[in-house]
Symmetry: C3
Subunit: 342 residues, 3 copies
C-alpha cells in the first residue's frame, strides 16, 4: 500500500513476532504461522496484510476483509471471516500501533548540516544533529542530540531543544524551551507575543510579554498551530500532549500531561487544563478557567466556566453532555410538534 | 482601480468582444460600441469600467452606478440606469469572471531558477519551471512543466507536481502527488502526519501514517490550510476543488470533484465528501462520515452524522436546514413570550 | 521572573517614577519609597516586584500577594494586604502596561542586513533596516526606516512597509501597503488571492483578484493569520487594529480603527466593521454585512445580519446578548423540567 517514494518498510513478520511486539494473543482461527508483509485497512488488505478493527463502525468491513491477520478485541473474534488470523488485545488500536511501528519505524533524514543552513556561531548543537537547507538557528540556541531541523525552519535566539526533536519545515520558534522527543510539524509558530494589550480609545497599549513557552517531552504539535509565550509567567504544555493542526494556545495557558487537543481548538489566555484532558475539534475555551483532569470537551463546544475533573461537557455554552443531549432532543420534539400543528 | 505595482491590465475591449468572451448577450440599452478599459465594482465604476451585478443585495448600487457597462441577469435589465450598457447572462458572475480574466490574465513570474534556490541534484524539473530564492526542493521530487515555486517554499523528497502548478511562499509539501494546474497559496502544509495515535495513560502511541495526499487537477488550496496525509490509505482531494484559507483536512479524507470548502472548516479523519459538496465557513465534520454529492453544509454547522446527497444541513448538531430554521424561530418566540410574561 | 536568555530588563524604578510613567496615583498604604526591580503576577510576586489587579477574579490572589507594589483601581485599595504599596489608576491594566514597558522596552534585533538575506536590487530600503538570513525581498518593494524583517519572511514585489514595522519569521506578504509601526507575527499570510470564483459544474471559474491589502499604522497581526487581498477594491485594516492568531479576513473586508479581533475569528468577504468593533474568539461573520462602530461580538457567535453600532450580540445565529441569555436560560429550565417529569 505505501508508496516507496515516501516510505521504507521493514519485515515481513510472522504472527508470533507481531503478537509479542503488540502484547497481543494469537486467536484460534486462521493459519497460525502466517507471514505478514505490510499493513492495510480492512477493505484494501490482502492475505499478506495485517489490519485492525478498533471502531465498531467498521465491523462490516471486518467480516468481509481479506486481510491475512487482524488485530481486534476478543469480543469481535467470532465475527472474523474464515481464514483470517487474529491478534487479540484489549486495546486493539494500541497493539496495532506498536506492530505498525515495526513495519514502518520512524525514519529521519541523515544527520547532516546542510551547507546552506544558517547557524549562528554561538548556537550549540549536540551530536548527530541534522539541519536542512535554509533553516536558520539564532544566537545562543541549544539543539539537543539527535534533533532534525527541517528546511526553512527558524529557531530563534536562546531557544533550547531537548534530544531527538523533529522540527518541521517553515516552523518559527522563539522564546521557548522544548523537551526531549518533541515533534513540531510544519508551519507551527511557538513563542510569539501573546494577545496582551490594554484596550484604549486613544490606541491600545501593548503589555510586554515576558514569559516563555515550555513544552514537555514526547509532545506532538500539529501543522500551523500557534502557541503564544506567557505574559508574565510561562505557557506550559505538559509531557506527552498531542496537539492537532491549527490549534491556538494563548498566553499563560497550562496543559497537564497527556492532553489531546483536536484540530482548530482555541484555548484562551491563562486557562489551566489538568492531566489527560481531551478537547474535540473546534472547541473554544474562555480565559482564566480551570478544566479538571480527565475532562472531555465535545467537538465545537464553548467552555465558559470551569469543568470538574472527569466531566464531559458539550454545547455552547458548554454543559454536562447529558443535559446538552436532553436540550437537543427537547428542541427537536418541540419544533416537530409545532411543524405538525401548522 | 488596480495598482500598477501589482497588476498589469490588458485591453481595452469593446462590448462585442467582452460579450463573446463571457458568452453574454448585449442588452438593448446604452451605447453599444462602448469601449471598456477596466473592471470596477458598481459603486466605484466610471464610464470606462465594466462592472457586474450578481448578488441582489447590490441592486441599489446597480441602479445608481456610473459603470459604462455591467454584466447582469436578464431579469435585472430594466433596473439599469440610463446610459449603462448591459451584458446579459444567465450566470452573470461566471460571465464576468471570464471577462475579468481578459483584463487581468494570470501573470506568473519569469521561469527562472534563482541561484539561491536549493534543488537536490536528483530532483527532476520540467520545462519552463521557476524556482524562487530560498525555495528548497528535495531528492527525487518531480516538478512539472510550467510550475512556479515561490520563495522559501519547501517541496519534500519524492513529491510530484503536475504541470503549471503555482506553489506559494513558505508552503510545506511532503508525501503528496499534485495534479496539473493546482494553486497552493502561501503557508499551506500538505502531507504531514495525520493525528494518528492510540491514546494511553502510559503515553499515547503513534500510529505510523503511511498514506499520501493526492490532489486532483485544477484545485486551489487557500493560505495556511493543512492537509494531512493518509494513515494507511490516501487522503484524496478531487479535481477542481476550491479550498479556502485555514481549512483543516484530516487523514484518509476523500473529497469528490468540485467541492467548495470555505475558510476555517475542519474535516475529520476518514470522512468522505461526494462531488460538489459545499461547506460554509467554520463548519466541522466529524470523522468516518459520508456526505453525499451536492450536499450543502451551512456555515458553522457541526456535522455529526451522514448527510444525504443534495441535502442542505445547518446547526449544531447539523440537521436539515428547514428543521433548524424552525428550531431557531421557535426558540425566539418562546423566549420572547417568557420575556413578556415577566 | 523573565528569562535573561530572552529578555533584558531595565530599572529598577521607584514608586514615584512608576506612578508618573503610568499616570497613576500612589496609595496611602505601604512603604512609599519602595524600589521595584521587576514585574510579576500576584501569586508569584515578591517584595521587589510590581504586580497588577485588573480582573476581579484575581481579587483573592491580590489579598494574599507578597508583591511590593500593585497597580489597581481605587475601589480595590482597601483589600490590599499589609505592606503592599499601591499605584491607583482608573484603568489599572493600561497604567500597568506603561510601567511594564519601562521594565521591558521593546528590543529589536540589530539593524543589520544579513549577507544571506535575498534582496532584489530594485527594492528600496530605508535607514536603519534589519533583514535577517533567508528573508526574501522582491523587486520594487519599499521598506521604511527602522523596519525589521525576520528570518525566512518573504516580501513580495511592490510591497510597501512604513517605518518601524516588525515582520516575523516565515511571513508571506504580497500585494499590500502597510503603515508605520505595524507588527506582523510569524507565519502570517497577507495579500494572497481571495476566495473568488464563479461556481460551475463544468469547473469553477476564477475571478481575478486585483485589489490590495491596506493596513493602517500601529496594527498588530497575530501568528498564522491570513488576510486576502481585495477582489476589485481593497481589503482595509484600519489604524490600531489588534488581530490575534489564526484569524481569517476575506477579500474586500473593511475594518475601522482600533478593532479587536480575537483568535480564530473569520470575517467573510465584503463585510465592513466600524471603529472599535470587538470580536471574541472563533466568531464567524457572514459576507456583505455591516457591523456598526463599537459593536461587540461574543465568542463563537455566528453573525448573519447587520449589527447596530454599540450593540452586543451572541449566539448562532447572533442576536442581542440579552435575548441569547434568555434563550439559554429558557432551554435549561425546559430541559430540566422534562428531565424531572420522567
Amino acid at each position: 500500500m505505501s508508496d516507496p517514494r515516501f516510505f521504507s518498510r521493514q519485515g515481513p513478520f510472522d504472527l508470533a513476532t507481531l503478537a509479542e511486539i503488540g502484547g497481543a494473543e494469537i486467536g484460534t482461527t486462521g493459519e497460525q504461522g502466517r507471514i505478514l508483509a505490510d499493513i492495510a485497512p480492512l477493505d484494501l488488505a490482502t492475505s499478506d496484510d495485517l489490519s485492525f478493527l478498533d471502531n465498531a463502525a467498521y465491523l462490516k468491513d471486518f467480516t468481509q476483509s481479506k486481510a491475512g491477520a487482524c488485530v481486534c478485541a476478543p469480543q469481535h473474534a467470532d465475527k472474523a471471516p474464515e481464514g483470517m488470523a487474529l491478534l487479540l488485545a484489549a486495546q486493539p488500536y494500541e497493539a496495532y500501533a506498536r506492530m505498525a511501528q515495526a513495519f514502518y519505524p520512524q525514519v529521519v533524514d541523515a544527520a547532516a548540516i546542510d551547507e546552506r543552513a544558517i547557524i549562528d556561531p554561538s548556537a550549540v548543537l549536540g551530536e548527530n544533529v541534522g539541519v536542512a537547507a535554509g533553516a536558520v538557528i539564532g544566537p545562543g540556541a541549544e539543539i539537543g542530540d539527535g534533533c532534525r531541523i527541517a528546511a526553512n525552519a527558524t529557531v530563534g535566539a536562546g531557544v533550547v531543544l531537548g534530544r531527538d526533536c523533529l522540527i518541521g519545515a517553515n516552523v518559527s520558534l522563539s522564546h521557548c524551551l522544548i523537551g526531549d522527543h518533541v515533534t513540531v510539524h510544519a508551519g507551527v509558530c511557538i513563542g510569539q507575543d501573546g494577545f496582551g494589550f490594554a484596550a484604549s480609545p486613544s490606541g491600545h497599549v501593548k503589555v510586554p510579554q515576558v514569559g516563555r513557552v515550555l513544552i514537555g517531552a514526547h509532545c506532538e504539535i500539529g501543522a500551523n498551530s500557534t502557541i503564544d509565550r506567557g505574559a508574565n509567567r510561562d505557557t506550559i504544555i505538559g509531557e506527552g500532549c498531542w496537539i492537532d493542526n491549527l490549534v491556538q494556545i494563548g498566553h499563560n495557558v497550562v496543559l497537564g500531561k497527556g492532553c489531546i487537543i483536536v484540530a482548530m481548538t482555541g484555548i484562551s489566555g491563562s486557562s489551566k487544563l489538568g492531566d489527560y484532558v481531551a478537547a474535540g475539534g473546534q472547541v473554544g475555551i474562555a480565559g482564566h478557567l480551570t478544566i479538571g483532569a480527565g475532562a472531555r470537551l465535545a467537538a465545537k463546544c464553548g467552555v465558559m466556566s470551569d469543568v470538574a475533573p472527569g466531566e464531559t461537557v458539550s454545547g455552547i455554552p458548554a454543559m454536562p453532555i447529558k443535559e446538552h443531549f436532553r436540550q437537543v432532543a427537547m428542541m427537536r420534539r418541540l419544533a416537530q410538534k409545532r411543524g405538525q400543528d401548522k
